[in-house]
């Protein structure tokens, strides 16, 4: 009944670390209970991952450590080159060009304008010894603005939106608490108003009160900016709070996709049932 084309579509994404062989995909996955190919020893980080995200939707990916969730985000964002598969983004060549086949220059454009990434470790997303303002300005300079006042004004607005005290704009993130580092990272990801944000375990490792504030911020961003998001987490609580639809991953494969409440209350696959019953 929904004929609106997806904002983002991933088709059969596969990422294999190592030489790879014809049997890699067939001999790994949830049935085999492993992601290392017994024939050639290559690691199948993810295989045949397909998903669609609509404008303004939050899509969750949940699964245990090593299930391939982060690999999906990293391939999409261009941190890793996929072994095979295609991805399409509506604002990129009207959704007709495969992101994975784009030239390095165009990939760079996608990373800086169409996608925003928030990593589990702030050190991956920020230059920890540069000021917070400079971290955000780096993104804004890519767009070609060279006006110092405008850039600083925009950095200020972004830090305010993510509740980082403006007085600390000239301090390097190294001096910040974990929660505040995450908020600077989110401000940077938002810099050029990308239509899709990618969150990789953003609250993992933060203490609960700080976790709650970061999650509140993400909910607020969804409400105010109506931006689409993929939220990767091992924590079903985070997924329940944020995502309308969720994919469950295990050994590099999506084992179940559904409405988040259906995944939690009526899980179909054996692994999903195990995951849900393991909740605290």
């Amino acid at each position: 009944m929904d004929t609106v084309p997806a904002l983002l579509r991933i088709d059969a994404l596969t990422k294999i670390h190592g030489a790879g062989c014809d049997a890699c995909v067939a001999l790994t996955g949830p049935q085999a209970g492993a992601n290392v190919c017994p024939r050639c020893g290559s690691v199948v980080a993810c295989a045949d991952v397909s998903l669609e995200v609509q404008a303004g939707e939050i899509f969750g990916i949940v699964g245990e450590s090593g299930s391939g969730k982060t690999t999906v985000l990293r391939c999409l964002y261009g941190d890793e080159a996929p072994t095979s598969g295609r991805a399409y983004l509506a604002p990129f060549d009207e959704g007709r060009a495969d992101l994975f086949a784009a030239s390095p220059q165009r990939r760079y454009y996608i990373r800086t304008h169409l996608l925003g990434m928030v990593y589990q470790s702030p050190a991956l997303g920020l230059r920890m010894d540069f000021s917070s303002g400079a971290n955000i300005a780096e993104r804004l300079l890519v767009v070609g603005d060279r006006h110092f006042g405008r850039i600083r004004g925009r950095a200020r607005a972004l830090l305010e939106r993510t509740e980082v005290p403006f007085a600390r704009i000239d301090e390097p993130p190294r001096r910040f608490s974990g929660g505040m580092q995450q908020r600077v990272q989110i401000a940077k990801a938002l810099a050029n108003d990308p239509p899709v944000l990618l969150f990789d375990e953003v609250t993992t490792g933060l203490d609960v009160s700080v976790q709650a504030r970061v999650l509140d911020l993400i909910r607020e961003l969804r409400r105010r900016l109506r931006v689409a998001m993929i939220v990767v987490s091992h924590d079903l609580g985070v997924i329940r709070l944020l995502a309308q639809r969720t994919a469950v991953m295990k050994d590099g494969r999506i084992v179940e996709v559904g409405l988040t409440d259906q995944i939690l209350e009526d899980p179909q696959r054996p692994y999903t049932q195990l995951l849900v019953s393991a909740q605290l």
Binding site: R223, R224, R245, L259, Q268, L274, S277
Partner: protein
Amino acid sequence: MPLLSVERLAKTFRLHALGGLAVRGCADVSFDVDPGQCVRLAGPSGSGKSSVLKCIYRTYRPTSGTLRYRAEDGRAVDLGALDDRGVLALRRREIAYVPQFLRVVPRVPARDIIAEGLWALDGDVAAGRNAADAVLGRLEIRPTLWDLSPVTFSGGEQQRVNLARALVLRPRLLLLDEPTSALSA
């Protein structure tokens, strides 16, 4: 023409950790709901009342049977076979579900919890708050409570917030799961 036609609905849970043990939620349930009609599902605890509601809202995937729903635009859809996006679209505008107990994030004020469903539609913050306030007033929740989290409210007040959250969407089909069971007579 009924708004909802439930035909031979069955829901069986298959528990893989227990060797595929089948647990029956409900079986062979059929009934119609006309527009504006109030239908009561009565029965003892464990008889499958909630399973029927959750299948209609698609929190559960029905095992068999059809759930023919006539949407506002006139189309008939089988809720059991509808894709997830179609279900989400109906939940946003047409079908609301009130769970037995209010479950909310403890930091969010009552009026925002109620307005959230409207914000998801158009993002108009002021209009959403106004609509939420109107429903809170109609359900006789004291205005001094509107900016507080309902976690601190009495059972009856919580249940009214729970109801307000669904009513504010002006749904065509409202699913109420034991709406008074947590309250004194």
